[in-house]
Amino acid sequence: MGDYWSDAENMVQPGKIKVPYTWQAGEMASHYFTRLRDEKKILGKHCPKCDKVLAPPRKNCPFCTVPTDEWVELSGQGTVDTFTVVRKGNAIQPMKAPFVYALIRLDGADTGFLHMLGEVDPEAVKEGMRVEAVFAEERIGSPRDIAYFKPIG
């Protein structure tokens, strides 16, 4: 290097992107979240073509695009399919490390449900563990109306 341009002091400038977003849930997810919020019910939706229950529900089946039909009320209990113990946390996570993220197969559903585990020793979590939803005190109609899933028994 070593020329007029390359020799200048290095200027790195911080810049923020702070565009605010408002995402519409749409009719389907609004129904799902209002039932979750008001009645502490987790609903799935059934695809008539694949004969699968999708939880969280979708308006169209992600596999075949056919509109889903029946709402299916789930018990809120399920089985841990896979999990991770977060050891190094970051600012966007709702819990402080160490804590557990899990994919949970809800009873009666054919898809995995993404959430966190609570009231559990991270060391004791295993695939196949039975868990149930613990609902947040304050519910606003969001995935976090479920505070976390805790082991049953």
Partner: protein, 383 residues
């Protein structure tokens, strides 16, 4: 169908931070090198494709500042968002459509500029209504996949660690790599736990870099200095979006993309016919999964494959002799870097990374999305 060849390659060194360059300057460096490599001026380039991502670049219309340095002022140009292998695919289509005799395609990533908010950028890949507030990101999502895959097939953390040992070791011979290291399985096992089972040395770094390919159809390929490396087969395929909709222990889209690419290239026994593979090992377990998906071994045997030494530089199916993403992961450009390494192997110009003389067929691979949702497979050949 007409044939398309890679006739020029250019890349910057991969580094943790190129803080003295802005990203168009990095792209310019790569373009200049590709033109030099091809032995032509910009007038031999008919049109341009750029590959970028607005989130990583911290810029809406992230393709805007790189058009000029890619020589597109008075040329047709387009922009792909996704991995560089997808950019190269579109560039190939533009050449095959008969509209252009040659296409220059670039890809870049400058992870250093967004290093502190990388989890936020990959968290934005989750559905804003159904999942984003849970705070998952690429690493935590892949940790879920790693455990699922390892549990299902009995893959051990030590087997995953061997990928880290192999690839960081391979990078010692790669003058462009960011993190060449002589390490042991024990070093990997002892490295900081991030999200179990992933540890610091299972995870690829955040990197800066840019790369460029020049493609030409059969007739135009004659005008370039280099011996053409032919695009023999390519395909890509995507899985369902939500992690819970997928069997995370599987990579069906990779199997399908590979099957189509092999068919196009006339490959029936990939392990035998492919001389070297450069694939996206963003996490150690992924190299094992992808080698299975590519058919280098049976399902669940990726761990055995690496342990056997088959994927080492002197093995029968060398994987990532360049050191892979574990030794330098330029988001968005990652797959195009793999294509460049594959070209070097076929040309016999890979130096210390060269797996053998007379490499005829090489594979390059790229990924889009979380946990390998979408894969692109390229087969490159000397003839």
């Amino acid at each position: 169908m007409d044939r398309v060849a890679i006739v020029g390659i250019g890349q910057t060194k991969i580094e943790a931070s190129k803080e003295r360059q802005n990203y168009p300057e990095m792209v310019y460096e790569a373009v200049k090198l590709a033109l030099e490599d091809a032995g032509v001026g910009m007038d031999e380039v008919d049109n341009v494709v750029t590959t970028s991502n607005d989130f990583w670049d911290g810029r809406t219309i992230s393709c805007m500042p790189v058009g000029g340095v890619s020589g597109a002022f008075d040329k047709n140009i387009s922009g792909v968002e996704g991995d560089g292998t997808f950019g190269a695919f579109y560039a190939t289509c533009r050449t095959l459509s008969g509209s252009y005799g040659s296409t220059l395609v670039t890809a870049h990533g400058k992870g250093s500029e967004s290093r502190s908010i990388a989890p936020m950028i990959t968290n934005a890949a989750f559905d804003p209504v159904l999942a984003r507030s849970l705070g998952l990101d690429m690493t935590t999502a892949c940790a879920l996949q790693a455990r699922k895959y390892m549990q299902r097939y009995g893959i051990t953390e030590e087997e995953c660690a061997q990928v880290s040992v192999k690839n960081h070791g391979n990078a010692l011979d790669n003058p462009n790599a960011q993190s060449p290291m002589k390490i042991t399985v024990e070093d990997v096992m002892k490295s900081e736990k991030i999200a179990e089972p992933l540890k610091a040395l299972d995870v690829s770094p955040i990197s800066d870099g840019a790369c460029c390919l020049i493609l030409a159809n059969e007739e135009r390929a004659k005008k370039f200095r280099t011996k053409p490396v032919w695009l023999k087969g390519v395909s890509f395929c995507a899985d369902a979006f939500q992690l819970g909709d997928r069997d995370l222990s599987e990579c069906k889209p990779l199997e399908q993309a590979a099957a189509k690419a092999y068919r196009m290239a006339g490959i029936t026994d990939p392990r035998k016919e492919i001389d070297v593979a450069e694939i996206c090992d963003a996490f150690t377990y992924q190299e094992l999964m992808w080698t299975e998906g590519l058919g280098f071994c049976k399902k669940g045997e990726g761990g055995k494959l690496v342990t056997s030494g088959a994927t080492a530089k002197d093995g029968d199916i060398p994987v990532n002799p360049s050191g892979g993403l574990l030794s330098g992961h330029v988001a968005i450009a990652a797959g195009m870097y793999r294509m460049i390494e594959a070209v070097r192997q076929i040309r016999g110009e890979a130096g210390g990374m060269q797996v053998k003389e007379g490499v005829k067929t090489a594979l390059a691979h790229g990924v889009n999305g979380l946990c390998g949702q979408s894969h692109c497979v390229w087969i490159l050949g000397s003839e």
